[in-house]
């Protein structure tokens, strides 16, 4: 077995014959060109053609990989005409009286060297852009047609490093993965491989040799390992990973666009948990039916002072609009306990999990609460926003929250700012107290959402941050499951819906129990949506039992 170690920059495993990327072999030779006007005319024509190609690539890219990548090619088009670059070409022509190919190559090397010598990794990587642009102009000068991959079967494409335009022009149906000698996680090969969703390994260095062409490579874009003629252990591990990946792929393909419904027709909402607007593409790509938990803490954790109303509003609005009318449950700040923020200036607590956290902060410090509620209600005009309060133990807390909401709505109304007065209000069910008074709480709100991590911690008296509680911290404990059932019964008696937004929601071994309890919604990480959907579609709700609640 030959094992190469590089840096995994795009996840996934694949295997196939190694194929080395072939660049046009046309080499530039220098010769005297007495007709300098003709050389300059050739340059102008090649520049024009290059810009035309780059603009076409930008258009193609905008459709396939998004705006960010497209702007790259537009920047390349500007390099083609850059005054210093062109001046360098003209200087060489004037001094040497040579052919324009040679002058272009010299200019390219000069500027690539300038970037390569900079002390900034990002700028060093731009040397590849200059070489890419230079190569394009040369190809156009010499009439070289850019080639694809000359192979009948899909290959693992190997190269020293691939320029962005090279990566994009490749026939993707022929590529299983990438491996390069150079490059980094920031290189274009890595970025585009991730966009395309195929594995890539870079930084293999000299260990990747051209004589490996045609041999079968087994590559793992997570660990950065490449194996040739793998031994049995390596092959078994590879096959296990591949099988998992293939199963996922099958799920992805068949589950998108399907309903979250059991074989006997029980519909259950499968929503996503997110931590910031950046997670939006993952929700949409995985076909989440809504957002069941948008943790607003990110706004507070990344800031150095209280985030203002406008900043919060923008973040909430972005998600509300992104979901295009599907429900977005936004939880008000859940600071305290394991999430500490210095500018909140909190007193040190012996037991922060039992201290002033989450809704307790909000009710103690109405000015912080008001800013967040104003931002939330303003965002409610742009989508189906629902507001959720964490760490509720008492009915009076909910009443106070509702009073704060009513006050904010009055303010906005007086200011003529649009909002949805029908915005749903819900609470987290995560304390034993909220279970015992669930019937009373259910009369006050539009929905419940069970936070299973905290509910387990408080019900079992097990600190979730402690690592050595092991078997004592058991979210499958009948006490936890019974607590969920009590809350669900209370919710349904009051005619409201109940979801689960904790880790347990994605635990497929509990799906039947949740169906038996009558949970209406499961909110999970975006990558769990499709596997969960697959499990739901194989279940029969009416045969599910509550046996896990016994013993």
């Amino acid at each position: 077995m030959i094992l190469l170690q590089g840096k995994g920059v795009s996840k996934g495993v694949t295997s196939g014959p190694i194929y080395f990327f072939r660049r046009s072999d046309a080499t530039v030779t220098k010769y005297d060109a007495p007709d300098q006007a003709a050389e300059k005319a050739r340059l102008a024509a090649a520049q024009e053609k290059s810009i035309e190609q780059l603009n076409r690539l930008a258009d193609k890219c905008r459709e396939e990989a998004g705006d960010e990548a497209a702007i790259l090619f537009e920047t390349h088009a500007m390099f083609v005409e850059d005054e210093d670059y062109v001046e360098a070409i003209m200087d060489t022509l004037a001094e040497e009286g040579c052919n324009v190919e040679y002058a272009v190559q010299c200019a390219g090397e000069q500027f690539a060297a300038m970037f390569a010598a900079m002390d900034d990794a990002y700028m060093q990587a731009r040397a590849a852009d200059i070489r890419d642009v230079t190569g394009r102009i040369l190809n156009n000068l010499m009439g070289v047609v850019e080639g694809g991959i000359d192979s009948d079967v899909p290959v693992v494409l190997a190269a020293d490093d691939l320029a962005p335009s090279e990566t994009l022009q490749l026939d993707k149906s022929k590529i299983l993965g990438f491996m390069t000698q150079g490059g980094s996680g920031n290189s274009h090969t890595a970025i585009l491989a991730r966009t395309m969703g195929i594995p890539a390994i870079c930084g293999l260095g000299e260990s990747l040799k051209t004589e490996m062409e045609g041999r079968i490579a087994y590559i793992d874009g997570e660990t950065g390992k490449v194996a040739l003629e793998p031994d049995e252990i390596t092959l078994t591990a590879y096959n296990a990973k591949l099988k998992k990946q293939q199963e996922m792929k099958v799920l992805m393909d068949t589950m998108k666009g399907q309903k979250d419904v059991t074989l006997d027709g029980r519909e259950i909402l499968v929503y996503c948990n997110i931590g910031s607007p950046d997670d939006l593409p993952a929700v949409l790509n995985n076909d989440g039916q809504g957002i069941g938990l948008f943790r607003s803490e990110f706004l507070y954790l990344k800031a150095t002072d209280f985030p203002d109303e406008e900043t919060q509003f923008k973040a909430y609005k972005a998600v509300a609009e992104g979901l295009n009318g599907k429900r977005v449950v936004i939880r008000t700040l859940d600071i305290g306990a394991d999430k500490q923020v210095s500018y909140f200036d909190m007193k040190k607590e012996e037991n922060p999990a039992l201290g002033v956290r989450a809704i307790r902060i909000c009710l103690n410090r109405p000015e912080i609460f008001r800013t967040q509620l104003r931002a939330l209600y303003r965002a409610s005009a742009y989508g189906k926003v629902a507001i959720m309060f964490p760490m509720i133990t008492s009915v009076w807390e909910v009443k106070e929250c509702k009073r704060a909401c009513a006050k904010v709505m009055e303010e906005l109304k007086a200011e003529g700012i649009p909002f949805n007065p029908e915005t749903e209000i819900g609470i987290m069910i995560e304390t034993p107290a909220s279970i015992f008074v669930a019937d009373a709480l259910a009369k006050e709100v539009d929905f419940f959402s069970v936070g299973t991590n905290d509910l387990t911690q408080y019900t079992l008296a097990c600190d979730r941050q402690a690592n050595d509680l092991g078997k004592f911290f058991d979210p499958h404990h009948p006490a936890v499951l019974r607590a969920i059932k009590i809350a669900a019964d209370a919710a349904h008696a009051a005619g409201i819906w109940i979801g689960i937004c904790g880790e347990l929601g994605a635990d497929i071994s509990l799906l039947e129990t949740f169906l038996a309890i009558g949970i209406d919604e499961l909110s999970v990480s975006p990558s769990s949506v499709l596997p969960l959907r697959a499990a739901i579609r194989k279940s029969i709700a009416k045969t599910c039992t509550l046996e896990k609640l016994e013993s």
Partner: protein, 86 residues
Amino acid sequence: MKQFDYTIKDPLGIHARPAGLLAKLAKGFGDTVVTITKDGNTVKASQLMKVMGMGIKTGNTITIAAEGPAEDEAIEGVKKFLEENL
């Protein structure tokens, strides 16, 4: 001639994308020349590769100057661009 100082806030500094957009913008003021100065080095804002070659990083303060018939307009335009993008 009009000028102002600006401190770069973008974590990547003046990288390829905004440099390209800035060069495009700077070319749009006819005979008015827009320059960028950092640590005593001055280049035209339209000189894309040279601007990138200055390696302007986050936290660096640069001086933008404009000279010519449309200098007021150029200064306004570049200021707005920097505030929105860098």
